[in-house]
Amino acid sequence: MTVLEQPGTHAPAHAPSWRPRADAAPLLPDAEPYRVLGARPDAPTGTKTKATRARSTRTGTTRAGSARTGATRTGTPRAGTAGRDTGTSGLAGEQVAAAPDAELLRRLYAAVVHGRRFNEQATALTRQGRLAVYPSSRGQEACQVAAALSLAEHDWLFPSYRDTLAAVARGLDPMEVLSLLRGDWHHGYDTRRTRVAPLCTPLATQLPHAVGLAHAARLKGDEVAALALVGDGGTSEGDFHEALNFAAVWQAPVVFLVQNNGFAISVPLAKQTAAPSLAHKAVGYGVPGRLVDGNDAVAVHEVLTEALERARAGGGPTLVEAVTYRLEAHTNADDATRYRADAEVEAWRAHDPVALLERELRQRDLWDEEAARQVEEAAEEQAAALRSRMNQDPALDPLELFAHVYAEPTPQLREQAGRLRAELAAEATAGQTNEYEAGQTDAHGAGQTDENAAGQTNENADGQTDDAARRQSVTGEPAAGGAGGRTGEETR
């Protein structure tokens, strides 16, 4: 007897392969941007009450709050429902209830003041022609600084071109960080040693790198998380989508921080996406999406620290949308007055990350004029040091252009290096400049051109580039062997 023969007895079944996968609700805990600074109406006293207030601000509803706790603390977003049953929500509530630590407040304050001064100095350097361009993060210092300070020693940072400050705040040499924007090389710091990936210019393309690196670290059993930075515009890129999806499927220990600064150059968020929020995008991947006030350094720091901890503990990726504002134009070459009103900028100036921290310190009676003055002075010294170093012309070695294209330069590159060397020599003879002469004795890979310098003056000898090392293939082939071995041209 079949179902068709028994009308009314048919219980609609799910499509055969359908099965429930994950509860989406716990993935989106924040009804509005999570704040810590100024979020408590009864400040400056009563930390317990403040925390409770902060908590409700953060979660919107109690149910969602505990659900989020389940999702983020248990390390299995897909088991969000189970998380509610673990009884961890109360515990997590206690943790969250801690008022911002005074020491952390002072640290963040010093860092944003330094960051603000760094931004101002870098922008000034573009006017003096010392930087080719500077995409300023002025107004976004809370995100930049919190990102850097939330990282553990072995974590990796994957910045975009607007995130120079995050790299500097992590302790990198500002001169090295600014190499890309100064234009003396595309990248200036040791990525492996600093665990800061190169500042990435093509939007969102570094996000899959962060996923792959974090995944590799996990495969090797290392407790390492990666923090990848992207803007609101970057969330429209395909690489953003693919990175989120790979991270979720692999449960890679990576945190994506979207600095929603309102504009992709001139295009406002409304023309970028119809999503309810950028944090919502996380849900489609089965990833928790946090929404945080991006000018509240304490809140961003807390959310990122928590997400990174969860990632390191095997809990998978998190997407964090930090709502902030780019106070400067896109770069020094942009004119922001063409696409936004002064009133909007002024509203954000009133919500300045430096001012928010200062207000908190004052309200908590932690403000110390002398300490603040010292922070200002230190920031000024840092800016002055950067200025004076930037005013030195960089040592450039044109022949280095050939040195790092491959592990070993190809014969064609050696020949081209020889040609450039000859041009430089001719220039020197003409008394135009001497600076490349250091390059003549370079110690780079293209130094191979030394033995082949004859290449350009000796073209009729075929620039025959006998490089036994290149010939010594990884297959263990003897230098002169092989079916394609030299023929009549061997003797010149």
Binding site: T205, V405, G476, G484, G488
Partner: protein, 362 residues
């Protein structure tokens, strides 16, 4: 979509060196590389349980586990992008792109990051990753399954571009590509996946490394410069050429093996001996590899040449549908027609060629 998949025939044979297919040699190279180096990871679409649509990764997931031979989400930019991150952490990823035209979404990662990372970081962050791409036509594939995309990769500084034509090279070049600290675009001629040779996986023969061309057939009349899927075709044309022309042509066939680095010396030596050259490839002729090769040969062999360097290439059209592809692909007749146009009436090079050959062919 992978409508054009055929199964490799079973290998068999009575003697020690059994016939193996090019596809099997590639699989063995992956297996041996993974066994030798725990940092070698294979990732791509359908490379795990299925063993890849061409079965090149067959058995790897079973032997090394799903983490080392990983089925990824279906997103080529994501595959290549995550492979960059894995390489940054010290792994040696081998990525499989399912078909040449499906590799295009990964192009930005390849051009903007894979090819530049070493240069950008002044050598501190090399990209030891291999991108395997089945390429070329002749298998009756529907649209997007038969492209020859080597010109794009050749035009990208920082990439090595390698393509085997023999079973021994399939193994040897893939091992070399994986061992290389530079990124290698490893182009696998689809139509040769099932080509066979006597080859022992236990004692794979040594082959020249990356950046070395090989003279596959010695000859005196003219040089056919080719690579990948067109190598067997050129050897066939060379055999047929013995019966052509007034006295028959004795054609030399150079298999480039590696498009980047380009082994100019082997090519130039050959053309200087023969005095004539034809470049043969499937890729469209306009702005294709043949143009670059012809220019370099002309620059270096001008006084040795009896005729302009000619090209036999695919037409400058989008790859045709399978029922028409035979009209597009270079064939023996088209190659012989080109050889016939090498200004044989001049007759000068023949004597010159004899003299040169007496001098030092080796």
């Amino acid at each position: 979509m992978s409508t054009a998949v055929r199964q490799p025939p079973k290998a068999g044979g009575a003697d020690g060196r059994k016939p193996a297919t090019l596809g099997q040699a590639l699989g063995r190279a992956l297996r041996d590389a993974m066994a030798d180096d725990p940092d070698v990871h294979v990732l791509g679409e359908d490379v795990g349980t299925l063993g890849g649509v061409f079965r090149v990764t067959d058995g790897l997931a079973a032997e090394f586990g799903p983490q080392r031979c990983a089925d990824t989400p279906l997103a080529e930019a994501g595959i290549l992008g995550t492979a960059v991150g894995m390489a940054m952490y010290g792994l040696r990823p081998v990525v499989e792109m399912q078909f040449d035209a499906f590799a295009f979404p990964g192009f930005e990662q390849l051009v903007s990051h894979v090819s530049r990372m070493r240069n950008r970081t002044r050598g501190r962050m090399p990209m030891p990753l291999t991108v395997r791409i089945p390429y070329g036509g002749g298998i009756g594939g529907v649209e997007h399954h038969s492209d020859s995309s080597e010109a794009y990769y050749m035009a990208t500084p920082g990439l090595h571009v390698v393509t085997p034509a023999t079973v021994a090279d399939a193994y040897g070049l893939l091992r070399a590509a994986i061992a290389s600290d530079d990124p290698v675009v490893f182009l696998e001629p689809k139509r040769l996946y099932w080509s066979k040779a006597d080859w022992s996986p236990e004692e794979p023969e040594q082959v020249p490394g990356l950046g070395r061309a090989a003279v596959r057939r010695r000859g005196t009349s003219a040089t056919l410069i080719t690579y990948g899927p067109s190598v067997p075709l050129c050897l066939e044309a060379a055999e047929a050429a013995r019966e052509e022309g007034a006295e028959g042509w004795d054609l030399e066939v150079v298999d480039l093996r590696s498009l980047v680095p380009f082994d100019e010396e082997t090519v130039v030596a050959s053309v200087r001996r023969t005095g004539r050259a034809v470049v043969v490839h499937e890729s469209p002729g306009f702005a294709g590899p043949g143009g670059e090769i012809a220019a370099r040969v002309t620059e270096r062999c001008f006084h040795y040449l009896e005729a302009p360097v000619l090209r036999v290439a695919g037409f400058d059209i989008p790859y045709p549908p399978p029922m028409l592809e035979r009209h597009h692909l270079p064939g023996v007749d088209r190659i012989l027609d080109a050889v016939a146009r090498l200004q044989w009436e001049s007759g000068w090079t023949r004597q010159q060629g004899e003299a040169e050959r007496g001098g030092g062919a080796g």
